[in-house]
């Protein structure tokens, strides 16, 4: 497989994935989530950690038909059908793409309030990867 998240990359990102840690630019205060090397606003490259609340609203979403999701989610899709994916506008400003869980997509609309929850994303190479999904608040 030529494209997947390596374990070292996954490991580095667990603070962002499990504790929703953003980076606050020490020069201009802009929040970066996910974190990035250089501030998108002012170009500075120094950040301090700022954990986000996990609350947000739905900015947009889609429903991935069975068989369509990346291979890591193939078993989940085979077993449980469609996957709902959305971009969540977090209360603090940044947006993040994430899977939505425990939700009937017909109940969703742009603006639906959501909150973050830890869920099991997938198993690969014998290692479990956990991450954040969003559920209706």
């Amino acid at each position: 497989m030529s494209s997947y998240i390596s374990l070292p990359i996954y490991q580095t990102s667990t603070g962002q994935r499990l504790r929703m840690e953003a980076g606050r630019c020490t020069a201009c205060g802009t929040l970066a989530y996910p974190q990035r090397p250089v501030c998108a606003s002012c170009g500075a490259d120094s950040f301090e950690t700022a954990a986000l609340s996990g609350e947000g609203t739905l900015y947009t979403f889609t429903v991935i038909a069975r068989g369509g999701a990346p291979a890591e989610f193939d078993d989940q899709q085979t077993m449980t059908g469609t996957i709902v994916v959305g971009v969540v506008e977090l209360a603090e400003g940044p947006r993040i793409i994430a899977q939505l869980a425990d939700v009937d997509p017909t109940d969703l609309e742009i603006g639906t309030p959501l909150k973050a929850e830890i869920r099991r994303l997938y198993d690969q190479e014998g290692i479990v990867r956990y991450g954040t999904k969003f559920v209706p608040a």
Partner: protein, 390 residues
């Protein structure tokens, strides 16, 4: 800066060829391009080659360009692999134009190739989803259609664009492809049938997406001063623009426009000294229906809220005021990812020479043609403007 001429174009018929090799596909496109140079050209005279592909067929990771070059009778030519997802060969073309324009190459070649049909289903899905920000977009469980579907949902929310208008792009482009002998899908599709197709990534159904395609294309360029040594019918490249953007859609302030496309278009228009109103036909990047809707505004043809209406009213049909994707576009003609960009140049060059494959597809009095080639969900965009030469 030198002026840049296109002196030969060639491509394979787009389709699915699991048993063909990368080498034989590329060789076929190259052969067609060389044959298109009616006064003949010696491959040994090519100074630089730029070959685009996303996946190298899933196997040939290193030295991909030299392998393609030797397959096409160009062993020895200086070449390199260019990658910007679906804009790979659009960028290969940009690089070739700039090499010629700068004088560092007298004759250059830009091409592209993609083989998408020879991997087992699971591995195929692995790399198909890679042109987003893999760390975040992939782990959210989305595929590529899902990303554009989310953009479509915002467009409907912000501009009251309707699903029927969006899917109308596919109906138009499938109609256009019927008469294109190089196209993968040559059967029309009614709007009702398209709207009733199975869900792909809501609100997209299968009809809103391009398919899986194998194909190759190649373009030969040279300093305009020597073009007539090779052909009596060159086409001039009068504008080239490029841009990039945040790859993940959650990092963009708006997902109903592609800033990279706007920048690339602005640069191309400026260099060409023309505006959107001067464009007689455009080959735009309709990997999904909404992508063409976005293109109308990104290229300055109309406002965002008008784009859906343009489709509904047939403004962008062959015979309409602003024909878009008369080749069938990515949805009708096919989307062999790495080959699409130079495939668009193939179509424009033929149209601007008055030699569209199949005369019924010819856009009358075509003077300026625009190619709009997007990588992924807009992370990279190349725009080119070509002009007919009297």
């Amino acid at each position: 800066m030198k002026r840049v001429a296109v002196i030969g174009v060639g491509q394979t018929t787009y389709g699915l060829y699991p048993e063909r090799t990368l080498k034989s596909l590329f060789a076929e496109a190259a052969k067609a391009a060389f044959a298109d140079v009616e006064k003949g050209i010696d491959p040994g005279d090519i100074d630089e080659a730029f070959i685009g592909t996303l996946s190298t067929g899933g196997s040939q990771l290193g030295n991909f360009a030299p392998l393609m070059l030797e397959s096409a009778g160009m062993a020895g030519v200086s070449g390199r692999h260019v990658e910007n997802a679906c804009a790979s060969s659009g960028y290969a073309f940009r690089d070739a134009c700039r090499a010629v324009a700068s004088g560092s190459a007298r004759i250059a070649v830009a091409g592209g190739i993609e083989k998408m049909s020879d991997l087992p289903r699971e591995r195929n899905r692995s790399w198909l989803g890679v042109s987003g920000d893999v760390e975040w977009e992939r782990l959210a469980g989305t595929n590529f259609p899902g990303i554009y579907a989310m953009m479509a949902r915002r467009h409907m929310h912000e501009f009251a664009t309707t699903k029927a208008q969006i899917t109308g792009v596919a109906v138009k482009n499938r109609d256009h492809a019927v008469a294109n002998p190089k196209a993968q899908f040559r059967k029309s599709m009614t709007l009702d049938k398209a709207l009733a197709a199975p869900n792909l990534a809501a609100p997209f159904c299968l009809a809103d997406a391009c398919g899986i395609t194998d194909g190759a294309s190649m373009v030969i360029l040279c300093d305009f001063e020597i073009a007539r040594d090779f052909t009596d019918r060159p086409v001039e490249v009068v504008g080239s623009g490029g841009g990039s953007d945040y790859v993940a859609i959650h990092d963009r302030p708006s997902i109903t426009r592609l800033p990279a496309a706007r920048k690339a278009a602005r640069e191309a228009y400026e260099e060409a000294g023309i505006g959107p109103g001067d464009i007689d036909l455009a080959e735009v990047h309709d990997c999904f229906t909404i992508a063409e809707i976005l293109a109308y505004a990104d290229l300055g043809f109309c406002e965002e809220a008008e784009a859906g209406h343009w489709v509904e009213e047939g403004v962008t049909r062959l015979g309409g005021e602003k024909p878009v994707n008369v080749s069938g576009g990515l949805i009708g003609k096919g989307h062999p990812i790495g080959a699409t960009g130079t495939g668009q140049i193939y179509e424009l060059a033929n149209q601007l020479r008055g030699r569209a494959d199949e005369p019924s597809r010819q856009v009358a009095n075509a003077r300026y043609g625009l190619a709009h080639n997007v990588g992924g969900s807009g992370g990279s965009v190349a725009v080119h403007i070509l002009k007919a030469v009297e």
